[in-house]
Amino acid sequence: MNFIDNPRKVRGFEKHIKVEKVTRRSILKGLGVTGGFVLAAPVMSRQALAYETGAGKMPHGVVVDPRVFVSVGADGIVTIVGHRSEMGTGVRTSLPLIVAEEMEADWSRVKVRQAHGDEVKFGNQDTDGSRSTRHYLIPMRQIGASARTMLEQAAAKRWGVPATEVKAVNHEVVHSASGRKLGFGELAADAAKESVPSIEGLKLKDPKNFRYLGKGEIGIVDLHDITTGKAQYGADVRLPGMKYAVIARPPVTGGKLVKFEPEEALKIPGVEKVMQVRGWPWPSKFQPLGGVAVIARNTGAAIKGRDALKLTWDDGPNGKYDSVAYRKELEEASRKPGLVLRKEGDADAALKSADKVIVGEYYLPHLAHVAMEPPVAVADVKGDKAEIWAPVQSPGGTREDVAKTLGIPEANVTVNVTLLGGGFGRKSKCDFALEAALLSKELGAPVKVQWTREDDIHNGFLHTVSVERIEAGLDKSGKVIAWRHRSVAPSIASTFAAGTVHQAPFEIGMGLVDMPFEIANISCENPEAAAFTRIGWFRAVSNIPRAFAVQSMVGEIAQATGRDQKDMLLELIGSPRIVKPNVKDLWNYGEPQDSYPIDTARLRKVVELVAEKGEWGRKVPKGHGLGIAVHRSFVSYIATIVEVAVDDKGKLTVPRVDTAIDCGTYVNPERIASQIEGAAIMGLSLAKYGEITFKDGKVQQKNFDDFQVVRMDDSPVVTNVYIVPPGPDTPPSGVGEPGVPPFAPALINAIFAATGKRIRALPIGKQLEA
């Protein structure tokens, strides 16, 4: 792990905090922590942010209310609420750390409390889209500053001195003129009586006095519990009288149960009951697929019981889904014009008149998330009340869906958010929690629904499958004058609306129509593709196929014209400028263009940085090669260099990875590095092995033996991470997802450099062995 900048310096906060008068909303109730006091402060409006983000447009927007997020006990313990879901990004530490920083709390005397699902109270809780720091850096600072100001005012009154003479420092308030000090705990009761400072009067800390932000010296709050087995994931919840359930679901999405014979299952020791689970018609959104549940005294018995069930299914409308045939359909569709989404100049004419046309047709298959913790949830439904414990990325959405599914008011549903044993987008869909709720209601007892790994792979919400076809037209000098990119893939929207054949704005905005190259004639098109299984968000989503196609094509153009990959890339990116694609209502990760434009200066910068630090052009041993790729996603900029080694039997290893990221102003560089290290491994997994295929409507893979992921012995030997120091007015941007997309194309470009073989279809599988 390397940082090019001094992580102690996170500059510029003072400049981009602009505070304005805001409309007050009703102050929400505090948490009622015993012996604590709660702070009251105005709820923020978006106008009070120096840069606007899309946070306010999320469901239920942003709540900036210290009474909701902070309490101080008489014992001095500061409790800060983490309202986003922890799936490994470190967010449960990072956001409370921002509050602690700004309120001068000593982190060793801070406790983090996980919020339940309640978006009216906490604001939006959807932990996806690499949004948490981007949307909450400033609100969390304001919450902390409000708390600090109230503690300072209370101390000033106690001593009878002007508030300007006192200062909160490391968990106490100090009057330096007299040398007096009072701890936060001693001030808690008085501070609670203080009036709430107005946002416009809030003084935020000078970043040069930061103790925690930007430094990366604080471990995650769950570190000790994780290493001792005490951390509680969804799978670990146990309630008195709880039953254990596994469910046999339709092997084909949209299929229905015709008949089930429970007799053999009921003979298994420990099995108590076999019951049908309601399913919803295709496309079923996040609703359960239905099937047959086996209820037992432990999970092992439930699994054994399920194996003994005799089941008859009607496979329904998707029973003919076949990945081999579907790939041909996608390829054929990509060779014909499709819905034009971006048009600049005349790409058709320019391609006709071009001196040379390079065509790349890239295929990327379905992927499964396979988080180490398969979907699991516990529900306890009593009468018209429901309590859920689940590892969900969508605590608010889960609460809404449980209420709707059970037909009870949302106020009667409590969603307790456990740690997530990985998420990657799978746990944004709460079908597993809904299954538990339905079963608990019918059983009249608490129940845990455990998905097996096979269930996870067979009945997931898969990453889409796509063909990306790019045609690049070059003039005599080798300059690219035309670019036509057709993307054909079933849309996530198909899971919500029958008959969907075009990709949604949020999908086409992920590397298709926002393509940043400086080319005179551009056409981005989307031919039709229907869906035959559940498609869902997978870490980085459509950026995976788009970055793969675009960055592979850069390598192909360099290859065809005999130029260096990096030079070719910089030439295509072109001059430093703000790219404004000719696209109606361009989707920009939900963010306003003013705060988060497509900035080619930043794109160039990460390429140049990774080239310098990653020693682009260095001599590598025979059989090794270097590849490079860059991609903007989740409004961050990331460039990766991969060194690959391919031996004479085609065995591929990765000795070194270098990645540069510009994610604007950041909180925890240590967790940024861990996300990027992990993204390289996820990128390598999908490039090397990742493929879910269908035959007769059924997924053909079942577990980690035939849906492989990278293990330690074939993981990159070293991954170096370089973080671009933020400029003074740079808003924070995404970290969790953007590391994934550039990895695979950098790898594929490296393989070409090493072997002269150009891979256009993933996974690589045995393609190098021939």
């Binding site: 922890e86 799936m87 490994g88 990004t89 470190g90 471990g219 995650i220 769950d222 570190l223 000790h224 994780i226 290493t227 001792t228 087995g229 005490k230 509680q232 994931y233 799978a235 670990d236 254990y244 298994i268 020791p269 420990g270 005294r297 432990n298 999970t299 092992g300 018995a301 699994i303 988080a371 180490m372 913790e373 398969p374 740690l419 997530l420 044993g421 990985g422 998420g423 990657f424 455990q450 097996t452 790994r453 096979e454 861990s674 290290e677 992990g678 491994i681 996820m682 577990n703 980690f704 033996d705 992921v709 990278v710 293990r711 330690m712 012995d713 074939d714 993981s715 990159p716 070293v718």
Partner: protein, 150 residues
Amino acid sequence: MIKVKINGQEQSWDGDPDLPLLWFLRDEAGLTGTKYGCGQALCGSCTVIVDKQAVRACITSVNDVAGREVTTIEGLHPNGDHPVQKAWRQVNVPQCGFCQAGQIMQAAALLMDNPKPSHDQIREAMSGNICRCGCYQRIENAVHLASTGV
């Protein structure tokens, strides 16, 4: 009635002797630190130590460990300060953390067998344990640190 010693405590089981140890630990004995990840000994999340050897609890029956000593993550060290655990914290290994109990138990077993493993020996010994978050670089560093003194 099957008797088995878990983390130094005698436990008994009179249910299905074929019940995988994993589910006995988690659902019957309430030791949830050992995780389910695949059920087929493919991912290592359920790794426990039986008489000084790392085993996958998902394919080991309660009957298989009758009369033997099982150590789970909860029993590795009374204060959680086994050198491997300390090294893990020093290197900030975990992301989501779900696989880490299995990784730590595997690493502890490796060091019992080979106190100074090489780079390649660590990578080989740990490759039965999948981490989907991709913490491998740090796991390797932590095992190395634990083997050289934390």
